[in-house]
């Protein structure tokens, strides 16, 4: 349809301004990571990879990265193992209390993450002798499982419900039904859900901040403490690497289910 020039200009302006606001804060981090100087100044001076060398030799960053990675992998595996069957059940009309259960399962998406952090901190201190890596994994699990449920349900909503009946008519038993019919249909949803779960867990700072315990420092927490004290281009270098991971995961999610379907 024909939009007048004024509308086209305004639309273009909005896209550009939004693009700047969305992307410039990430771009400056990337730019700052290649700085030569020891301080964060803008525009960055010179070009060097010394800060990448610095962080790759830093015991603190490496151990934080290792902690983050281990947690994210465990959380991703558990989230898929727990979220996928739940999504299958929630996609069936016959499931009892389907609506309220679906609401409950998805509610961590819209409730303050902070609440989970505080609640788990208090629970851990009350019953489990203080926070630890287990509490952190459980905290991440609550906020990651809904993503798996959502992506798998989205995929299943487009599947033909009669396939399951057809499989049973062709003699498929309970396990055969899941292995040969249902799970293959969930594949892209599971993949997208896993990428989301990994990303959320790997990037989380809120739950981790509350469940901070001696010896359990994740990468985002390491960055957060640096920001509170003295940010240097080393933080920018770590951040750049983390942005890279996120970009990769976004593209993988798009490949699996299409970004449009995230809505």
């Amino acid at each position: 349809m024909t939009a007048p020039l004024s509308a086209r200009l305004l639309g273009g302006l909005i896209v550009i301004v939004t693009g700047l606001v969305m992307l410039v804060p990430l771009a400056v981090v990337v730019a700052a990571s290649f700085s030569e100087s020891a301080f964060l100044v803008f525009p960055p001076r010179g070009f060097s990879l010394r800060w990448y060398g610095e962080i790759l030799g830093s015991e603190a960053y490496l151990s934080a990265a290792w902690t983050s990675l281990r947690i994210a992998v465990v959380v991703t595996l558990l989230a898929v193992a727990i979220g996928t069957p739940a999504a299958i059940a929630l996609s069936r009309p016959a499931t009892p209390w389907r609506e309220p259960l679906a609401g409950l399962f998805l509610s961590p998406l819209v409730l303050p993450t902070l609440i989970f952090g505080i609640g788990l901190l208090m629970t851990a201190s009350l019953f489990f002798g203080g926070p630890g890596i287990g509490g952190l994994i459980i905290g991440h699990l609550v906020i990651c499982v809904p993503y798996v449920i959502r992506t798998v349900t989205a995929v299943l909503s487009r599947a033909d419900p009669r396939l399951e009946e057809a499989a049973r008519c062709m003699g498929a038993g309970l396990w055969q039904k899941y292995w040969h019919v249902i799970l293959p249909q969930c594949r892209t949803g599971i993949a997208a859900g896993a990428f989301f779960a990994f990303n959320i867990s790997f990037d989380d700072a809120v739950v981790a901040l509350f469940l901070r315990a001696p010896g359990v420092e994740t990468l985002p927490i390491r960055i957060y403490s640096q920001l509170e004290f003295s940010p240097d281009p080393g933080v920018a270098a770590v951040s750049t690497l983390m942005i890279l991971v996120s970009v990769l995961l976004v593209l993988l999610i798009d490949r699996a289910v299409g970004l449009d379907r995230m809505a």
Binding site: V28, V29, L114, L121, M122, F210, M242
Partner: protein, 279 residues
Amino acid sequence: MSDRITAAARRESLALLAPGIAVLLLAFLLPVAVILVTSVRDPAGGLTAAHFAKFFVDDYYLRIAWRTLRLALAITAVTVIFGLPLAWIMVRAGPRLRFAIMLMVILPLMTSVVIRTFGWLVVLGNGGLLARLGEFLGLDGRALVLMHTETGVVIAMAQVLLPFMVLTLLGVLRAIPRDLEEAARTMGAGFWATMRLVVLPLAVPGIVSGSLIVFALSISSFITPSLVGGVRLPVLASSIYQSIGGSFDWPFAAAQSVLLLAATLAVIIPYTRLARGRT
């Protein structure tokens, strides 16, 4: 016979749900219950409303509540103003422009809050990008240092919450048949009149749900407000963090968390009603 089949199907569903329900109980309902109990218990183990009272009698905390609310409203307004045209452009654009906008909207959401906020420190801070740009243009650079200002918090928060608005609006705008806009044009309505009289009224459900979700997420965020806003601009969530890690007043932290949770639920319950009505 059919009863047996349904019973078997129910058992199967419950088995599939069991691990999820266990996680919900352990990591969601139990912690929330612990917060609720902590918020009303006195040191002797009895019931008390003192922790809540502390919040409501102190001007300092009421100002925090008011600031939290004010910021959330401003953030919501900004995301509506930018989200509506963006979502409409995405619906009407070709697949490549749509993907580009989607990517730029989603990417900040998918990066860690600490990195995003770090970026804003570099942009908004002293000697940051914005201030340098201002000096370059001959303006007073200091006026453009938006660190520790509410404007800075609103901009930084709008960046991360815009995707929620855009994605919600996208679903609603996509369902408006293009015919309606064309029909309005053939009936003598100009472009802007069509936007105002056809698109806007039909987008209202999306604007309402988008606003509710953005508002709910705004009032509970704290890393961005506390790093960009700093200690001079505490919001409810940063006050909770302060009570936990700074003053070690856990019952008070619990009471504030209950207030935050209640405020969120007050917004989220109508949101889920709306979302369900749409599907």
